[in-house]
């Protein structure tokens, strides 16, 4: 380094490097300038100066200098290394790898560069490269523990577990017998457990078990030891020993469901889908009865039998399970039992059982011989409310929860549940207002604060939600803070709300923020490549890498990407110059709309003012010496995002991620269909159709896409170019393989589809829409098909109670179709009136019991103050100031 310089300057150069490592950038900069005064073209100095500037937030200068330095001394490994570091700091890992490789060409044994390279290769999953680099490092420095471990992990990641084991054993061969010293016992134990898990993964079960037993004294994590042992025993078919070990584990933690599952497996009594023969059920019953005697404190041992028991035995077990919990008052009881509602018949049994309990509490209540606490009735009503909510009987659910509230009006969960019932019933405004009431009862509870924010967003009260959510962020940091905390539920919910309200810019902003979080999470693994090897947390490290590999299949990412794609589709369909239309405003009068617009304007102005304030205060901090410069968002409303030239190619970016990570989601391919149809990418659209048919050919949307696709194709001009002809020939070859279309016209296929699903609303609607698409003169027929659908009571055996079959969400979709696609206001209105009858709480259809009609709640909503001044409607109704307050505060009504 700095070899070409005279001694004085060479020393200065060393100073630059040292200053960079110790973050004394100003000092380094001075030294660099001193050298450059004499040798203005010295490449390595120029590079180092650039790297130093990069750390001082002078990016563009940095790149300029580093590139210049490299140009002046292209043979210097320092210059290449610096260039790589610069790219790495900007997360341009591929470019950085290239630079490192160039640096290594000049200096192949440079350990620092090799190590940096290996980290990048792990990050980018360049696994063969990773193995090579790790091998080189080990060859250069075989006395370093980390190099052995790194080489082994590299082979493991590169799917060569056996090799990894060999390396670890070779490493163990280098150790003394009394290894490890006391301060490294944990690390060594982790390494051994990692090796054994590798043996297990490779299928060397005997060897793994043998090794485990041999190394027992050296393994510190005793629980992991036992779990590993039991897993090996079961895999080796040594079930009796396995069962005994599981019992030992249960003694340590008798609420670990996985131990029970394992124990069942040892007894040959485990089935993935929970289906058991009568004989098996009896044996399971006996097993759990004996376990319950051993593990008296366990609640799992009492809960699990409810999953496999049936009929009377289920009933008996359920009573025994539920009764004490109602007496004790366990608010989560319903969520605990809610999976049982998917088992046929169990919802009915539970209903009868709880109603009986309710009855017996009420009738026995006055004499109190049973010593039942008064709260039991409350918790029973609370359970029943959630029960009826789950069964779709919202009116009963509401009457139960109201009774519970009357009984004990101070229990917060009651208001949360009431809010949830109202949401399910379709009254989002009332739901938001009750969630807010719950929030006000405990202003120190972040969970209920978040819940109420979510309800507000669902009711499109964005401004109120923003004010409420910041009650729990750090002062002054407000919205940035939510972003920094990766608060994704909030960003998704507000993105969806903006989307509903037609504010595509801000919707996109929120969706893309979530996408950014996922990129950050991927990025975050970087530090662990070196950290975990050093700390020997190898099992956790490898698991983390595997998690990262499927990170983007997470539901939140899926939602965000789908939301962004929808925004871009809408943007493409109605470009910016036409003002964004509000979609869900059927219930709003023009004057209300005006008001909303005004509100939004005012909101914007206020926000801008606030941001200015923040800005000035932020710069104030930086002046006072602290480096706390938050870059101000140059595009807070996403207006720049909206100005994209090509919304469809933006959409395609996110679509690719969905296709890669959520290939089994219908939605992925529906979006792919929409995007590619608009892009005229016929074959890609066709691929989407085929995927839809593969996943669910009977789905109404799959049917829609199929018909739409071939209808579009048939209406296109005859192919001219070679490429078009090629596309045509592919379609011609493929069409016969689509069973729905074999030797049929599209109309016929449509009819057949109807014949298969005549009783289903959504299928009829899809057929009607396609009828109209294929032949617009058949609009009346299409309308009739929809209106002739009948809403029946569902058969009760499953989770739902005796309720009508149609879902609110579907009926809203049908309304939109009538209104926007078939464009028939009279029919749409008829539909709305009809649905208002089915969904009396729906604000969308202005049902008779919804807050849209019942203005009470709307008014209340306006008076709700953010900091806890909300008042329940009942309070408002009670004549609040009918007596002058001064003396009356003394009024007493003592309760005994």
């Amino acid at each position: 380094m700095g070899a070409s310089l005279p001694p004085k300057e060479a020393n200065l150069f060393k100073l630059i490097v040292k200053s960079y490592e110790t973050k004394q950038y100003k000092k380094g900069l001075k030294a660099a300038d001193a050298i450059l005064k004499k040798f203005p073209d010295h490449g390595e100095t120029l590079s180092m100066k650039g790297l130093t500037l990069n750390c001082m937030d002078r990016k563009s200068e940095a790149y300029e200098l580093v590139r210049l330095g490299l140009k002046n001394d292209v043979k210097s490994h320092v210059c290449w290394h610096v260039y790589g570091l610069l790219y790495r700091s900007d997360r341009e890992y591929r470019e950085a790898i290239k630079c490192y490789r160039n640096a290594l060409k000049r200096d192949p044994d440079n350990i620092e560069i090799l190590r940096d390279l290996s980290l990048l290769q792990a990050q980018m999953r360049d696994l063969t490269g990773f193995v090579e680099t790790r091998q080189q490092l080990l060859t250069l420095k075989p006395n370093h523990r980390m190099n052995w471990i790194g080489f082994a992990v590299a082979h493991h990641l590169n799917s060569n577990g056996a090799k990894a084991v060999e390396i670890l054993e070779a490493y163990e061969g280098t150790l003394e017998d009394d290894y490890p010293p006391d301060n490294e016992r944990c690390e060594h134990g982790e390494m051994l457990l990692y090796k054994i898990s590798l043996l297990e993964e490779c299928g060397f079960l005997e060897r793994a078990l043998e090794e485990l037993h041999k190394k027992e004294p050296k393994i510190v994590d005793k629980l992991a030891y036992k779990e590993q042992e039991v897993s090996l025993l079961v895999k080796l078919g040594r079930l009796e020993e396995g069962a005994n070990l599981y019992k030992v584990l249960l003694k340590m933690n008798s609420d670990n469901y996985r131990y029970y599952e394992g124990l069942q497996k040892c007894f040959g009594l485990y089935s993935e889908n929970g289906n058991y023969s009568a004989d098996e059920i009896d044996r399971l019953d006996a097993l759990y009865k004996s376990l319950a005697e051993q593990y008296t404190w366990s609640s799992a041992v009492k809960r699990i039998p409810l999953d496999f028991l049936q009929g009377d035995k289920f009933r008996e077990a359920a009573v025994n399970y539920i009764k004490p919990l109602l007496t004790k008052g366990v608010p989560s009881l319903f969520s605990d039992l809610s999976p049982l509602y998917d088992h046929p018949g169990k919802a009915d049994i539970l209903e009868l059982l709880i109603l009986e309990l309710e009855h017996s509490i009420r009738t026995r209540y006055p004499d109190r011989t049973e010593k039942e606490p008064p709260s039991t009735l409350l918790w029973t009503l609370f359970f029943l409310a959630q029960h009826y909510d789950r069964r779709g009987q919202y009116d009963v659910a509401l009457s139960k929860i109201d009774e519970a509230i009357q009984h004990t009006p101070t229990v917060i969960d009651l208001y949360s549940v009431k809010s949830r019932i109202l949401k399910h019933a379709g009254d989002l405004v009332a739901a938001a207002s009750f969630a807010d009431e719950a929030r006000c009862l405990d202003l120190a509870d972040r969970y209920i604060n978040s819940e109420s924010v979510k309800r507000m967003l669902q009711a499109d009260q964005v401004a109120l939600a923003e004010k409420t959510v910041v009650l729990f962020t750090k002062d002054g940091d407000q919205h940035n803070n939510l972003h920094d905390m990766q608060c994704m539920w909030y960003e998704l919910a507000s993105g969806e709300s903006y989307f509903r309200q037609g504010d595509l810019g801000r919707a996109l902003k929120k969706f893309l923020a979530v996408e950014k979080h996922y990129a950050d999470i991927t990025e975050d693994q970087f530090d662990f490549h070196s950290y975990c090897l050093r700390k020997m947390t190898l099992r956790a490290y490898v698991e983390m890498l595997k998690f990262q590999d499927r990170l983007h299949s997470h539901a939140y990412f899926h939602k965000a990407a789908a939301g962004a794609i929808r925004c871009y589709l809408k943007l493409y369909d109605s470009p910016l110059n036409s003002p964004p239309e509000e979609e869900d405003n059927t219930s709003k009068t023009p004057s209300q709309k005006k008001k909303m617009k005004k509100q939004r304007k005012a909101e914007r102005a206020k926000k801008e003012a606030e941001e200015k304030n923040e800005e000035s205060s932020a710069s104030g901090i930086s002046k006072s010496g602290k480096r706390h410069l938050k870059p101000v968002d140059p595009d807070p409303y996403g207006e720049k995002l909206l100005q994209t030239e090509d919304p469809l190619s933006e959409a395609s970016k996110y679509l690719k991620l969905l296709q890669k990570n959520s290939p089994d989601s219908l939605e992925t391919h529906l979006l792919s269909f929409e995007v590619n149809m608009r892009k005229q990418r016929i074959l890609l659209a066709f691929k989407a159709v085929k995927q839809l048919l593969r996943l669910d050919a009977e789905n109404p949307d799959s049917h829609r896409c199929l018909i739409k696709f071939f209808h579009k194709v048939s209406s296109m001009a005859a192919p001219e170019t070679d490429a078009e002809k090629l596309v045509w020939s592919v379609l011609e070859a493929e069409r016969p393989y689509i069973s729905q279309l074999q030797e049929k016209t599209l109309s016929e296929a449509n009819k057949i589809f109807l014949g298969k699903h005549e009783d289903s609303l959504m299928h009829r609607v899809a057929v009607a829409e396609m009828l109209y698409t294929l032949d617009p003169t058949k609009k009346l027929e299409a309308v009739k098909l929809i209106e002739d659908s009948s809403n029946k009571v569902v058969p009760t055996n499953g989770a739902l109670g005796p309720v009508m079959e149609w879902k609110l969400k579907d009926c809203i979709a049908v309304y939109k179709l009538l209104d926007k696609v078939l464009i028939d206001q009279d029919v749409a209105l008829r539909w709305k009136v009809r649905c208002a009858g089915y969904f009396p709480y729906s604000t969308y259809f202005e049902g008779s019991r919804s807050s849209a009609v019942n203005n009470l709640l709307n008014n209340q909503d306006i008076t709700t103050s953010v900091n806890g001044g909300t008042s329940h409607p009942e309070i408002k109704q009670s004549a609040n100031s009918f007596i002058p307050n001064g003396k009356l505060e003394a009024f007493k009504n003592l309760a005994i």
């Binding site: 008064p374 409350l378 003394a890 009024f891 309760a895």
Partner: protein, 164 residues
Amino acid sequence: MGSGREVAISLDGVRDKNVMQLKKLNTVLFPVRYNDKYYADALASGEFTKLAYYSDICVGSIACRLEKKEGGAIRVYIMTLGVLAPYRGLGIGTRLLNHVLDLCSKQNIPEIYLHVQTNNEDAINFYKKFGFEITETIKNYYTNIEPPDCFVLTKFITPSQGKK
């Protein structure tokens, strides 16, 4: 845990974060809507205002105001004391009142008083059990309820000598 059958009763202070609990109780217990001063006084009284929890459910409260008499002596005025109907008869009111009486004797506060409607015999008997006496009758104290008269119930507390 103990015997397991006994349900725990506990007291907790009132703060701005949970003052809505007190408001909620008052709207159910009393036919009056209390003004902001009531809540300010209650919060200011510190330990003299408490919520009662029955197995973690808020079911009752006592709210007091500390008053300065001429000469600097302090006396306690009980603004409200109440327990939700289903939870009465479980000793929760007693627990709340005893808490305040204990505080008075610990802090050498000699006088504690309250107003009660003249026909509220249950309340009068309840307080008498704790050594309160009728010290005054105020005519037409209430404006919109019948009867409009009230008693003043007072308990004079001897300083905590003899008590531990």
